[in-house]
């Protein structure tokens, strides 16, 4: 009987020693964070609570879609931040609002903010404030800069 138990115990012990230790994957080494050097803030002066529908603004840089602000009430400050290569950049903004059925649709072309160049400088945060009035039919663009931290 003893002769049977001993080999069995030895076999069990041998199988345990062969089990692999599972280790968590090594953490990814931290990457360098690219600081945003460009910020667009869109806001609208609405005339009533009913007019304060959801809207957002698409941002095109040098004729390419670079991003869009978050969607939110038109009277709220909706922002988009990005990192643009320094230089004189051609910016175009496209305002979108909720259509009759709630689906987003762009404002008519004649009411869209006009295309214009904005200089993005190295070491500066270029801030563009896009202020809509008159039901979104008029807009004023202000450009400001502040040093990057």
């Amino acid at each position: 009987m003893r002769t049977l138990l001993l080999p069995l115990l030895a076999a069990l012990l041998a199988s345990c020693s062969r089990q692999q230790v599972v280790r968590p994957p090594a953490p990814v080494p931290p990457q360098a964070v690219v600081a945003a050097n460009f910020e667009v803030t869109a806001v609208e002066v609405v005339e009533s609570a009913e007019a304060d529908a959801v809207g957002f603004v698409k941002v095109y840089v040098d004729n390419e879609l670079a991003g869009q602000t978050q969607a939110g009430p038109r009277s709220s400050e909706r922002k988009w931040q990005g990192s643009l290569a320094p230089g004189n950049r051609l910016l175009r903004f496209e305002a979108w609002t909720a259509g009759p059925l709630g689906e987003p649709e762009p404002m008519p072309e004649e009411f869209q903010p006009r295309e214009r160049f904005v200089r993005v400088e190295e070491g500066s945060l270029t801030k563009v404030l896009l202020r809509f009035t008159d039901g979104g039919r008029k807009s004023v663009l202000q450009v400001g800069r502040e040093p990057l931290p």
Binding site: N88, L90, R114, E115, R116, F117, R119, R137
Partner: protein, 517 residues
């Protein structure tokens, strides 16, 4: 006829005349023993002592306007007073001094008894022999003022669509509750019909009297309008007073300087017309009361001095439109226009020309909204209720190649593309036009502005950071200006302005050309 017969005939004639006038019956110093008198009759009387009072009881058989005339007596300073059958004093007269005649006009009466008390105000009067003559007259009531109409509550009825007569008389209201004793005639204007109407009122001239006409609402006697554009001996005219019937208004007519005239009556001629939308709808003296201006033109008058006429211009299309306004000239006046948004914020002040010249707003870019136009006289002293101005407007679709005002600042600069041209006005006075364009590839860009009469142009180019790059001036007024410059990709701004803010031209457009070489 023999000579001795002549005195006899004269005596007979005199005695016949005397028979036509009855005599007072003394004692008649109290209403209980008043001398009876009928309208149309005359009575003779004397002032036996300085304190003598003669009371007459006038039995009026019908409704009308009762008047009296009392001939003067040497040394006696007459005063006379009307009382109703309850001896309530209605109107008091003391216009003249010792020896003068007294007169009382336009007492509104209905059938019944009225009392006239004649007294003397001169304590030293001593002329018991000389007789006075008192004449009483009753005229039909309708079409006449009805004294005492000295307060709003006692206003007479004004005949709408007809003539109402009255007098700036007496010079003082001796029964007034106030110390200034202003004599005033109040009238009630009633329009029973439903609808919108224009009321025109002409108050005739009265020699020596400078009339003032005022309009009050009946709810709280708030003065809505005052007409005092003419001087003494001239008529006063109220034009295009808007009424939304059924409605009542009150009018007050008074002499500005206390001058009175018992001889010449005033006549108030009223005309009530259905409102056609082609005239102002007074009172439109403030934005909230603006007259709707939906047609092509509308007429109005500026009276009294400092009158301001507001018009509401609705724009119901969301398409871009160009609104133009033209205002005709008025003799002796320098008219100006103010254009505001719906909240009253000033958009444009139009004062291009001087006295007796028309004014023009060459173009304002608009889309859906409500705009207001206020027409006024610059000095705020001149007025003329007889002459009307005409305000005309056009609302035409915007077309590419036209200026779209307001483009008076860099913030509201109008977009332009290289290779395009644009026509615009350097108006109104003080106008500055800003344009904005993009250069996508570096190029030599030429800018050219054609000249317009009376304007010496200054043209300035700015980069996208609003740094001035280049400036050029026309050699002289009426000449164009241009320059050329290599421009790198970027956004540029162009400012066009006259050398002096007063230079403008509402007739000729300039053309701005932007070309890449």
């Amino acid at each position: 006829m023999t000579k001795p017969g002549r005195p006899l005939l004269l005596l007979l004639a005199l005695s016949l005349c005397a028979c036509g006038k009855s005599r007072e019956k003394e004692p008649n110093d109290h209403f209980t023993n008043a001398t009876p008198l009928r309208p149309g009759a005359s009575v003779r009387g004397t002032v036996a002592s300085p304190g003598d009072v003669d009371v007459y009881k006038v039995d009026v058989g019908r409704e009308g306007a009762l008047s009296f005339r009392l001939s003067g007596i040497k040394d006696v300073d007459f005063a006379a007073s009307w009382q109703d059958h309850d001896r309530q004093e209605l109107k008091k007269f003391n216009e003249t001094g010792a020896g003068g005649d007294e007169e009382g006009l336009d007492l509104g009466v209905s059938a019944g008894l009225y009392y006239l008390a004649v007294s003397n105000r001169n304590a030293k009067a001593n002329n018991p022999k000389q007789e006075y003559v008192l004449d009483i007259k009753l005229e039909p009531g309708p079409g006449s003022e009805s004294e005492p109409n000295d307060t709003a509550l006692a206003a007479s009825t004004l005949t709408v669509g007809g003539v109402t007569r009255g007098h700036y008389f007496p010079s003082r209201n001796l029964l007034a509750a106030t110390t200034d004793q202003v004599e005033e005639d109040w009238f009630r204007v009633t329009v029973d019909r439903e609808g919108m109407f224009s009321l025109n009122v002409d108050v005739s001239e009265v020699p020596g009297v400078d009339g003032v006409l005022e309009v009050y609402d009946t709810a709280n006697f708030y003065k809505i309008k005052e007409v005092d554009s003419a001087g003494p001996g001239e008529p006063e005219i109220l034009r295009n007073f808007g009424l939304r019937g059924p409605v009542q208004y009150l009018m007050r007519l008074r002499s500005k300087t206390r001058a009175a005239n018992a001889m010449a009556p005033y006549e108030i001629l009223t005309e009530l017309l259905p409102y056609s939308g082609t005239t102002e709808f007074e009172p439109n003296d403030q934005r909230l009361d603006a007259t709707p201006f939906t047609g092509d033109s509308i007429t109005g008058t500026l009276s009294p001095a400092a009158d301001e006429d507001w018009y509401r211009v609705p724009v119901e299309t969301s398409d871009k439109r160009i609104l133009t306004l033209s205002l005709s000239a008025l003799k002796g006046m320098d008219l100006v226009m103010l254009v505001t948004d719906d909240l009253g914020n000033t958009i444009l002040a139009v004062d291009n020309a001087g006295k007796e010249s028309p004014e023009t707003m060459t173009g304002l870019g608009v889309s859906t909204g409500t705009f207001h136009v206020a027409v006024s006289e610059k000095s705020r002293r001149a007025s003329d209720s007889r002459k009307s101005y005409t305000l005309s407007k056009t609302l035409s679709p915007f077309q590419a190649g036209l200026e779209f005002e307001l483009n008076d600042s860099s913030e509201t600069a109008q977009a332009l593309k290289v290779g395009e041209s644009l026509d615009g006005y350097m108006a109104p006075k003080g106008d500055v036009d800003w344009y904005e364009f993009n250069v996508y590839q570096g190029a030599d860009v030429s800018l050219e502005v054609t000249g317009v009469l009376n304007v010496k142009f200054l043209l300035t180019l700015f980069d996208q950071e609003y740094q001035e790059l280049l400036g050029a001036a026309a050699a002289r007024p009426g000449e164009g200006v241009s320059f050329q410059r290599r421009l790198e990709p970027g956004t540029y701004f162009l400012r066009l302005q006259p050398a002096e803010p007063g230079q403008n031209n509402v007739r000729d457009k300039y053309t701005l050309r932007l070309k890449a070489q």
